[in-house]
């Protein structure tokens, strides 16, 4: 056994900074994925056939291919095809957001369909327009039921975010590799950022539980 954590001490600020870098794009990707996922879910349950078809095809493609492939395509193919020199941050947000929206849309679709049909009828009978009904009556109830599933998706996204180290985005994972190369020792920095990932996921889990408890107040 030859473990020496004292060697990584000078690198700790550098690695801690990675939390912020990772959280930054994870946060943007989650929001982006959630909004797009909601829209796709509404397409799926709506009555407009081409939109339904589009949302289903979209989901099928993004769930049916590896995330790392999607990330690579966005990072490498966009500059090649358009000449636009896409930044790692933007590629990461796009890849993770687009990918996540496919999963989120399925979660939300199931959540909407699980809301009692009587709720729709009650709102319709009161003359509430469809859009308003979705926003005020159906989605809040759907979200409450699917919160655990959504939280799961966000946690997965946070962990999978380590994939962006492959496009040289200086996230938490990438920083561990940089430190490892500098020190010629990999185990300590990897273990250290492992702990940081775990703490981030725990933070998300606790946040989810708090939100859930707040929503359950009305029961």
């Amino acid at each position: 056994m030859n473990l020496d954590f004292s060697q990584i001490v000078p690198y700790i600020p550098f690695m801690l900074e990675g939390i912020w870098v990772t959280l930054q794009f994870v946060f943007v990707a989650i929001i982006f994925g959630f909004i797009l996922g909601t829209v796709l879910a509404l397409f799926k349950i709506g009555s407009i056939r081409p939109l339904r078809w589009f949302a289903d095809a979209y989901t099928s493609i993004f769930r049916g291919t590896p995330l790392i492939l999607q990330l690579m395509i966005i990072y490498f193919a966009i500059p090649q095809l358009t000449g636009y020199d896409i930044q790692p941050f933007l590629s990461a947000v796009l890849a993770f957001g687009l990918n996540s929206s496919a999963y989120v849309s399925e979660i939300i679709r199931a959540g909407i369909q699980a809301v009692d049909k009587g709720q729709t009828e009650a709102a319709q009978a009161l003359g509430v327009p469809y859009r308003q009904m979705m926003i005020d009556v159906i989605l809040p109830q759907a979200l409450k039921n699917i919160l655990p599933a959504l939280m799961n998706e966000f946690i997965t996204l946070t962990k999978e975010s380590a994939l962006v180290s492959t496009i040289s985005y200086l996230d938490l994972m990438r920083r561990a590799q940089v430190v490892g190369a500098d020190l010629y020792r990999n185990f300590e920095p990897l273990l250290f950022v492992g702990l940081l990932y775990w703490l981030m996921v725990m933070g998300l889990t606790i946040l989810g539980k708090l939100v859930e408890r707040r929503l359950r107040l009305s029961d």
């Binding site: 009587g118 709720q119 009650a122 009978a125 009161l126 003359g127 509430v128 327009p129 109830q141 009305s218």
Partner: protein, 240 residues
């Protein structure tokens, strides 16, 4: 107020309502009775277009509901509906259940809507439940809130689909009492019910449906004591 002409409704090949014509006048209370599956709910739901009629016309205040140009939302604003299973909004408290549609649909201010809602809650005897959530209410209380919610839109017509069928027996009366008050205040009402007492006492007219056909309609006393058709007589014999 409402004129139904040759209304037919099919679900696929299954003809659930056959060529029904009738009229409901302003201030009239009509009870719709008939065996299970005879099409009572479907008839009621056609009146506010929760079901789309296959054929025939429905006129509400001279406005033809089956005309594609008619604004269904506008028509529904004027027609309140009370369901067997209440369908209160579970994520909103009682007061918000009552103010939601008036604020969002009729664009009342919060103050106006709340004032109106409080008046209605007093009327159905639930003033102290203002901040309660539906899940904490008894069935009878839920149904009274549901009635108040529909009334908050100030409808010209109220539809009731078996409003007491899901209630424990001891709660039926509190709901029927609210409905009686409403009837006496001059509200136009169409009530699908198995409460023959209510039909007899409160209704101005009874419609008897069987297998989607309007078999008989008439004034309750003569209907219940001397039905004109065998089918109505058979039905009454079974349930009374």
């Amino acid at each position: 107020m409402i004129k139904v002409e040759n209304l037919t409704k099919k679900f696929g090949e299954n003809e659930v309502l056959s060529n029904i014509s009738t009229e409901i006048k302003k201030g009239e209370v009509v009870s719709i009775i008939g065996p299970s599956g005879s099409g009572k709910s479907t008839f009621l739901r056609c009146i506010n277009l929760l079901e789309k009629p296959t054929e025939g016309t429905i006129l509400v205040d001279e406005e033809n509901l089956t005309d594609p140009k008619t604004n269904i939302l506008k028509v529904r604003e004027k027609i309140g509906m009370v369901f067997q299973h209440f369908h209160l909004f579970p994520h909103l408290n009682v007061l918000d259940n009552l103010t939601y549609a008036p604020m969002k649909v009729k664009h009342l201010s919060k103050d106006q809507a709340e004032e109106k809602a409080r008046g209605l809650l007093a009327k159905v005897g639930l003033t102290e439940k203002e901040t309660a959530y539906p899940s904490s209410l008894s069935g009878g209380q839920k149904q009274r809130v549901a009635i108040a919610r529909a009334l908050a839109m100030e409808p010209d017509l109220m539809l009731f689909d078996e409003p007491t069928s899901a209630l424990d027996p001891e709660m039926v009366k509190e709901v029927l009492d609210v409905m009686k008050d409403l009837a006496h205040s001059g509200m136009t009402m169409a009530v699908v019910t198995h409460e023959m007492g209510f039909a007899r006492e409160v209704a101005d007219r009874v419609l008897f449906l069987d297998h989607g056909v309007l078999v008989e309609e008439g004034e309750p006393n003569s209907f219940f004591t001397a039905p004109k058709t065998n089918r109505a007589a058979d039905f009454l014999e079974k349930i009374l």
